[in-house]
Symmetry: C2
Subunit: 444 residues, 2 copies
């Protein structure tokens, strides 16, 4: 019997993070970190896990999108899917009717990503390897075959991609050894949420330095006077040598971004992240030109490889922030890593939320071993929330991610957490009844 | 009692257009023109209608998105909504949690557009005016207040928008008179669907010229030899003076677009539409530079005003093709019309599908009366499909749209058609049972 995908379960899981303002920023004052969680099951009883990260309301739309696309996965032979997830990615992204709803953007594109990532997770589990290792063991030719170059060739051809990967074949083994022993640099956003008070900000900044971080991130963009005060607190807490990135989460228009950041320049910000709309390639280029040497970073909301291509072509970014769940999965992120390598721009993945650290670490580690070959000016975002809900949580210490060793993409949520936080019927979300269960009718 | 929105009904309506390959192009070989159809009902029994156009599969995702956003409309006072639809648009687009699913793109953004357009339809019905007239009667200040300038000010400020609108106040009455008597130019895509054979192409091209069209459009991008042959047939059929636009529906990458179009240049194409990904601003600029004097057109998939802004800033387009249902409704289309006016680029709206002609004509006519003041090099796309399903269908004759006179945005679908084509339970979609209804059990 051919092993096939027998079911695709998609579950709305929401964590009530807004209750403590964890994750609060200028555009997201009260996020509830959530996911459309995807579980593929095979006829042989194996599983693959994926998720689309969301921030609360609207997760039901994301779930609906995954369920609609799941028909293109159900009943497919597992050998076929796992041998060539790129073929699945092309089918999902290219469906001639569903494509109208994007194309290659928003809810439908992220749904494709959730399914494609789940197939990669399944492939890595079957291979008995963590995903980063599975990818790093593929040949340059196999990797290039996983990428859709249709809209990229004016910036990156198949031949150029092959050359980049081939140039990194020598040294893969040595870098893999270093990765396993030394890990991969992390930076932390834990201190800087906008909803935290000054005391908490100062304390968490100092702790971050003690914990070994050389780069921290502060949310800005709510109020200029507050930002100036908070940047001062952070700079005093970390000293002159630790880098402080700032993140506006798209709150500004282009002229406003430039004006506001000039006020923060005395505190030596390392990068300004999401100064304006993630769609505004030319806007980012203008901001970058006006604010140099402050770097410009973006990516968590950059919806596909075509947009990253332009950010690079327009010299609009110094830092490419891939996100594991925004684009159509591992395959499109391979394309983005190749584009970044071609243009010589470092990749510092976006993470945090729920599960984003777990998933994206694999992509950065693959990039180090088999493509860019460097961790210089690179770090994966780290936020210390919600890892306890994963069966293979990230391990971060001394300011570094440890390389995962368990098979898969680290995307499986602890089953008890799925039950507890399922929306709207998990215990965390069900309104507490005014009358306790088991209370009988009043007796006469 | 304050009149409130008492319900928002969202219905999946699909027309099986793929059965005759109407609407077939390089990326959409078999579209089933569909809509997430929105009906607002008020506590006083009034209705407002909107729709999000789709092409079949996935309409259920679009419906889910509208239903999720509808909670922000239900129970709102009708006076408040209709007096300031822009406030609703900002709320829908800016919701801090749902925003993660975009921002300002894809299914969620189009859902906002469906609701915002339904509110404008309701406002125009209450005012007893067709929407184009309602808009053209607003003051420049009122119009500018309906636009969100957050991400646009580097290209267009409120003051510049006001100046553009004020400059067009003189002459509004005369242009309205001309619009009512002469109508607005149309162009036709009816002849050129990729699935039509050569005989049908030639016949429909000749008919289009006889019907008064001065611009027709042919789908290209399937096969180069076919395109060369079909362009020859079309050019012979229409003669040298009628313009022929060609439309690739995003099939190409940038270098391929340039190579392919050079082969079609001898047939004097007027514009090349969607030569590549709608997200590729810089790609469109490169194509335009390489192919001049052939014009470059795009817009039906350009997902928001920030993208149109960049297409204009980068000199990437000669023709702006607004779509009534792609962006967040009338308000964002006002922004796009203002941007086009600022950059002096003509707007030729995308239409066809189901209901797109009905809706978008109002925006082009408003633009003529109160903003651009011109119909030169402008025309609204026209396709003669599915108009019979609307209660206020477009009237096109002599190659011109007649100005609508009925109150509203012409978005109401005939109730019997909603029932007939509702998916999946309308008679057009229910599988025909193998056993006729009423067939009894076999008798002994």
């Amino acid at each position: 019997m051919t092993e096939r995908i027998s079911s695709v379960e998609t579950i709305d899981v929401r964590f009530p993070t807004s209750r403590h303002r964890d994750g609060s920023d200028a555009m997201n004052p009260f996020p509830d970190y959530s996911a459309a969680y995807v579980v593929l099951r095979t006829s042989a009883g194996a599983c693959g896990y994926g998720l689309v990260f969301t921030v609360g309301r609207g997760t039901e739309i994301q779930v609906a999108a995954v369920r609609s696309l799941a028909s293109m996965v159900i009943d497919r032979p597992v050998d076929e899917l796992t041998a060539d997830p790129g073929a699945l990615a092309r089918r999902l992204v290219g469906d001639s009717q569903i494509r109208w709803l994007g194309p290659e953007k928003g809810v439908v594109h992220m749904a494709a990503g959730g399914l494609v990532n789940a197939v990669w997770d399944l492939a890595a589990r079957r291979a008995g390897k963590p995903l980063w290792k599975l990818l790093a063991d593929l040949t340059p030719e196999q990797l290039v075959a996983q990428v859709d170059f249709r809209y990229l060739r004016d910036a990156l051809t198949e031949q150029e991609a092959l050359a980049l990967l081939r140039a990194a074949v020598d040294g893969r083994a040595e870098r893999e050894r270093r990765l396993r022993t030394e890990g991969y640099p992390a930076y932390t956003t834990t201190p800087g949420w906008l909803g935290y008070d000054d005391e908490k900000l100062a304390r968490l900044c100092a702790e971050a330095v003690r914990d070994g971080y050389r780069l921290i991130k502060i949310k800005v963009g709510g109020n200029l006077a507050d930002d100036v005060r908070r940047m001062g607190i952070a700079r005093r807490a970390v000293g002159p040598d630790v880098r402080i990135a700032v993140d506006a989460n798209q709150i500004w228009g282009v002229p406003e971004a430039i004006r506001w950041m000039r006020e923060l320049a005395p505190f030596d910000p390392y990068w300004i992240e999401e100064p304006t709309s993630p769609d505004d390639v030319l806007g980012h280029a203008a901001v970058r030109k006006a604010l140099a040497p402050v770097r410009v970073a973006t990516g968590e909301h950059v919806h596909n490889a075509v947009m990253f291509k332009q950010l690079l072509q327009a010299d609009a970014v110094d830092v490419v922030q891939i996100d594991a769940c925004r684009v159509a999965g591992v395959n499109e992120n391979l394309a983005i890593l190749l584009l970044a390598a071609k243009f010589g721009v470092p990749v510092c993945p976006h993470a945090g939320g729920v599960g984003l650290c777990e998933l994206v670490q694999h992509l950065a580690m693959f990039d180090f071993v088999a493509l860019s070959g460097s961790t210089e000016d690179r770090a994966i975002e780290y936020v210390d929330h919600l890892h306890e809900h994963f069966t293979d949580p990230v391990r971060v210490s001394g300011g570094r991610y440890h390389a995962p060793t368990a098979p898969g993409m680290s995307a499986e949520i602890v089953p008890a957490s799925v039950i507890e936080y399922r929306y709207p019927d998990g215990p965390q979300w069900m309104p507490v009844s005014a009358v306790p269960v088991g209370t009988g009718a009043p007796t006469a």
